[in-house]
Symmetry: C2
Amino acid sequence: MFSRACEYAIKIMIYIAANESKGKRKGLKEVTEAIGSPEAFTAKILQQLVKGNLLKSFRGPTGGFVINSEKDIRLHDVVKTIDGDHLMEDCVLGLNECSSTNPCPVHDKFLLVKNQLTETLLSTKINDEELLKGKRILRN
Amino acid sequence: MFSRACEYAIKIMIYIAANESKGKRKGLKEVTEAIGSPEAFTAKILQQLVKGNLLKSFRGPTGGFVINSEKDIRLHDVVKTIDGDHLMEDCVLGLNECSSTNPCPVHDKFLLVKNQLTETLLSTKINDEELLKGKRILRN
DNA sequence: ATAATAAAGGATAATTAAGTCCTAATTTGT
DNA sequence: ACAAATTAGGACTTAATTATCCTTTATTAT
């Protein structure tokens, strides 16, 4: 559904959001340990999230990443930043010309699925407390 | 959402199912022309669909492909044959250990989406006449 | 039998995604 | 000023997906 990079990005955002009450910035090492991702690759994704204005970064000792609190970040923002909005916007069969007036055979069948998906991504805040209800795993 | 190969496979199955009333077998050339896919790659996908028992193939002159009419084929079968059932079964965040008793943060949020998707794939027959209502495009 | 036709299948190439490595730039505390 | 820590960024490697090419096998009609 999502690219590997996007899966990591979602975990990153949720981890940082869930732990930012503890004040200090979250470093690359801590994040990769928390979500169980390859370090160098995770660094690239963090960069993308910073460029996309979802995170703010700070260098040097005491440096690290924090959520950009000026924004009210949703899963939709994270997915869009890493994977673009192809999943939400494009034809399921990959047809450029597909639209409600000129539909592919499965266009109507997938309307519900895509709406449900888009709605879920749009409505879920990265710091939604429901995401943390009970014990929640972020890595294997 | 689906791999490119799977997108082609869905188009292949819908095209052959929609045109099989015209009696004769559908050859590789005709199929690639109909769905606008690369010929050699399409041949490989047709092979997979035959191996998965969704199509029957015949060689030689008058040869080609037909739907395996012993089965009542759904989109779910096509997707499973080409992409496997990862999309339907696996954790959205790619976690092996994720389950309803040991969930990832977005597990509940995506239950509806995944159920809707699975239900759509399971309930849509490849020869559903709704897939052909009005003008329906299979290629750009 | 033979020639023509069409799918099967193996090998290889091209492209994209995933992941690594190394150096540069910035910030902090001494 | 300097050393240590930490992110930024470029270049590169590896793996997976997409796509092509060529040969083999089966089938049909002459």
